[in-house]
Amino acid sequence: MTRPRPFVGAVLRWSARLVPRYRRTEWRRQWEAEIAYLDRHADGARTLRVAMGAIRHAWATRVEEMTMRGWSAGVRTTMRGVLRRPGFSALAVATLAVGIGTATAIFSLGEAMVLRAVPYPDGERLVGMFSANARTGFSSFAVSYPDFEDVVLESGLFDAGSFYLEVDQDIAGGAEPQRVRVARVHREYFQTLRARFTLGRAFGDDDHEAASEPTVVIDERLWRSRFGADSTLLGQSIRVDGFPHTVVGVLEAGQGWPSRATVWTPLQWGSSVPEYAAERSNHTWQVIGRLREGPSVGEASGQVREMARAIYAGEDIDERDIGTEAFLLSLRTSAGGESATPIFLTLGVAVTLVLLIACMNAGGLLLTRALGRARELSLRAALGAGRVRLVGTLMAETMVLALLGGTAGVGLGHVALRSALAAAPPEVAAAADVQLNPTVLGAALAVSLVAALGAGLLPALRATRGALAESLKDGSGGAGTGRGTMRVRQFLVTSEIAFSVALLVVAGMTVRGFQRQLSSDPGFAADPIASFTLKLPAARFESAATIDGFLDRAVEELQRSPLIEDVATISRLPLGGAGASLFRSFVEDGMPEPPDGVEYGALWIEVDPGTFRTLGASPIEGRDVTRDDGPDSPPVAVVNERMARRMAPDGTLVGRRIRSFYDENVNRTVVGVVPDLQFNGVSRAQRQPIVFVPREQAARREMAFLVRAVDAPDQLLPEIRRIMTGLDGDIALSDLQTLRDSHAADLAGIRFFTSLFGAFGVLALILAVSGVYGLVSYSVSLRTREVGLRMAIGATATDVRVGVLRESAGVALLGLGVGTGLAWAGGRVIAAGLDGIALMQATTFVGVLTVLGLAVLAATWVPAGRATRVDPMTALRSE
């Protein structure tokens, strides 16, 4: 008998595996005969060549098998398999659905809020340009005109570019005056964006000439709400900041993005740029640009950075600009706002973890299921089903479950998104016409499909591996108790626990952080206080004297009302309310300025003598601002506690002189220290250093009023409006509301995220606990037979329970330990990103570990107890 050479033999053996089992013997006989003949009559190379044909032949038999009877029979078997255990199938489908649904919904929501789509053609080429200076610690600020010229107009990187500056101004004409956000735009602004107009046109070069009559473009929504969608408005004149402007265009709704303006006016520089604007050190302008085809945003940004370095390494650079750089961000990213990004990232991490846990739960279920079917599979194998076919069947069932889960997940995601949006505060809901994001949905589906298939494949291969006779013979022991499957299961349990810890800690941290912000104490009684802001038109209020005159008169008039207890002005409302945020750097008089000395950054707020009294606060050291601190008296300042501690950690700052050396450059004597009041919004709860200066020493046309009611602040609002209109009907009041309401509006976003994360945390808790419980209890129940054996030879129920518990504890502790590490590392990242929002707290860790630990305990205790109560003989026979 001639034997095929070893390699040829191996080819035949391996190919034969592909051949349907019932044809395999004959197939091999046929090939062996051929090879035997070849061995005699042909050379080795030819034999090998012919033998390679066996692979194709075997494959052809497999394909034939599948096409002949594969599909219909396969589908029938699959559906039978899925429906035979409806509880299991429903559970697997539900697990996947919850994972996919919530992950997609939350991700879509976050994405819509943070990374809104750019509403212009080729929007991905649109970028914003920013300055940064690592030396002074400012990571993102506006751009100077010369930088714009050098980088955007002359580098050749851009097709077009422009810039704008936003201000709040009053418009008049039509209805009563109204405060709006006005963007003053440079040439080519709308052309750079390729914005669409409902009516009229964009600004042309003529509009930017200093000599021409001012023109204005308004937003479609303003056009509808204020001018009743009057199409004859074009060519008519409206007043902006007191000056007449001719309306030349109505911009389509939404086309103003990324500016938040509703009115646009052309910057009129004529043929030359005004001196102040042309300075290299005047970083004022919000620059946008449209990149030329070619380099990516990242590459272009790299080039821009190099250019800026070269510029700021040159001569004649202002000292404070040393080290200034520039960079580009796609508008899509940069316009989303900084505050939302870390929240979004946290959501992303949490969503990924939920998806992961859902997949692991499904995987655990499938594993359990496949191992439980070892006997059935062995039987089918014995009856002639090939391994490929068996695995195929199992995989097909998994696939059906995964697809059902995916479909249900899409539905669930839709419902979840709708209900989240229904509960969202208006600014979140309005922020986006949110739909389930198809990309995210696709990704979630793909991930869970792959995970489910992976989870299905492993046990399928295991369960079908040569188990044949042993499994039948052995009855039960083989199913899931083999060393290999045990390792897989332990790995699964460990990682499930670990991920659950990480997820729950992240969710818990965030919820706790949000909760703390919701309950934070502003440092004063906000309740009986109403506030509003106004901006005095430049046309009528030029000098400091006229401004202060009007403000003083307004305070006096308001004070006279019997409903009002106290009135004061302030340049910026507390609790993140309206007003100007000026951030200035200070040095103490006599100390060197940077780079040699240290600068202290602080918020710059202008106040009245009565401001702190109105807020219900009083100086804790020194004195308040008084009437005597007028424009001609020595410059003074009051600082908050934080600023005092920063600049004078050991002594007192009162009596010392500080100077905002970049800006005002006037030495001010610190005359008092007030408590830390909360001026920032809740999203940045940390209290900053603040320097308060008397309003009359730093006149400004834009001010806010604080009005303390004698009684209920609600009746106050019409009263204020009446008095102010009587004083000057052409000045618009903005943000007229109680501080409590403005605070609540500020909190609404946080409240929404708190409940979102809260719901998310509950979901994660359910998923994690049920997953851990399921896996552990299944592992334990597999040992029913062993328990029976032990009981039969005299072990007590307690012995058994303790023994089983000890083993579970090992796996659980490992999982909890790894999870704690993961959570700690992740928590630090998130806490750093969500400055002041996420809180790393030991209680969160302890809580999470306790809950999961209890879940493991219960998952072990209950089935172990059940096993001990089973009659030993039944247990021994059980499967």
Partner: protein
């Protein structure tokens, strides 16, 4: 008979079989096709009833000190299909191998 046209390789195998060549290696030699084409073609022919197979008598094989071989022969149905197929492939004459694919009573192009 509305039957899917046989691929040319399968027709070649059938043709060789009609001329009396009966087992795998012989058919490889006769058609010059690869083993990866010939063996699946044999399976297909058998499934379609155009060929039948039998295992060689074990004693014969034993006498010649080799494993028994699987022999194929063309069926009546196979012959009909072959003639039909060769009419069809006649149109493709330039692509075929001379003298192999034409039935004996057909005129070479």
């Amino acid at each position: 008979m509305a039957r899917k046209a046989l691929p040319v390789g399968t027709v070649m195998v059938l043709h060789a079989m009609a001329r009396g060549h009966g087992y795998g290696f012989d058919l490889l030699e006769q058609t010059g096709l690869t083993s990866g084409t010939v063996y699946p073609a044999l399976d297909r022919l058998e499934r379609l009833g155009l060929a039948r197979s039998r295992w060689e008598d074990a004693e014969v094989a034993h006498r010649e000190k080799r494993p028994p071989r699987k022999y194929f022969e063309i069926t009546t149905g196979g012959k009909e299909v072959l003639v039909e197929a060769l009419q069809r492939y006649k149109a493709l004459a330039p692509l075929t191998i001379d003298g192999v694919l034409y039935p004996s009573d057909a005129e070479p192009a």
